[in-house]
Symmetry: C2
Subunit: 156 residues, 2 copies
Amino acid sequence: MPSNELDELDRYVIYRLQKDIRGTSAATIANDYGVSPSTVRKRISRLEDEGIIRGSHLDIDYEQAGYQLFTIIFCTAPIPEREQLAQEALTVPGVVSVRELMTGEENIHVVAVGRDGDDLSRIGRDLAALGLEIVEEELVHNEYSCPLHWFDKQSD
Amino acid sequence: MPSNELDELDRYVIYRLQKDIRGTSAATIANDYGVSPSTVRKRISRLEDEGIIRGSHLDIDYEQAGYQLFTIIFCTAPIPEREQLAQEALTVPGVVSVRELMTGEENIHVVAVGRDGDDLSRIGRDLAALGLEIVEEELVHNEYSCPLHWFDKQSD
DNA sequence: TATGAAAGGTTGAACCC
DNA sequence: GGGTTCAACCTTTCATA
C-alpha cells in the first residue's frame, strides 16, 4: 500500500485533530480552512483507510488521578525477542507506554505509573519475569507532547 | 486541591476513552457498564474539571505519513532551566514529544520525526541552539502505548 | 447524585458536479 | 477529487426525584 503524499488540507486536518479531537468537529475544521464539512470527513476517512490515523486517545494526567509515581524503566532485550517483549511489557499493570530502540544497550524504554513504591517494585518484578533485563530506573518529572507542526502553518 | 478517589465507573470511563475516543460514545460506555448515558457524561465532565482529563489527541502513524525517521535525542539541561528548555524543545518543527527526567545526565528525552537525514540534522541544530546539550541520538523502532489497565486491582 | 426529555449539533452514506 | 442533502446518532441543557 503506497503511502500517498499528504497535501496541505490533510496536514491541517491532522494538526487540528492531534491538538484536540473531542473539541474539534469536521465542520469546525472545514469552516476554518474554507472547504465543506464533507470534504474534511472524506479526508479523515481516507487517512484512516491508509493507516495514517492509528487511533484516538484520551490524555490523562496520571498525577492528578492519584498515580504520583511516574517512572521510566530502561531495559535490555535481545534483538530477536525485542519486539515481542515490548508488546508483552504493555500487558503489565501500570505500564502506559513502551519504546523500542533500534540499537544500544538499553533498547526498551518502559514508562509506568504507580501510587507508591510497592507498585513500582511489582512492575519491575513483572518486567523481569517476562525476560527483560532492567538496567536503570528514573523518575519522570514531566512529559509533553505536541502535534507535528512541521508545516509551520497557522496556529489557533 | 484534594484529588478525589476514582471509583470503578470513573476508571472504566477513562479506560474506554483512552483506548478509543472517536469510536466510543458516552452512550456506548453507559450501556456496557449498565448506567444511563448522562451519568457517564457527568463523570467525564467532572474528570475534566478536576484536571484528570488533560485532552484528547489523534494518534498518527508517522511512518505511514511519510516520516520514516523516528528518532530519540538524549539531551542534558541544567536543572534550573530544564523545564523551560523542555517546553521550548516542543516548538522545534519535527519534535513530537519531550520527557523531562528528574535526575541523571540525560535528563531530557526529545522524540522527533523526519523524512531524511537533513531534517534530523536541522532538528539537532535547533535543539542545540536552544541551549540543550545533545548527548546521543538513537532510532526508535517502534512505540506503543496503552490505557492504564490495572483497574481490576484497586478496591474502593 | 442519577436519570429522562427536548433542542441543536455531528456523523456517515448516497448521490451529484 | 469536492459539494449537497438527509436520517441516525450524539451532546447539551434543563427539569426531576
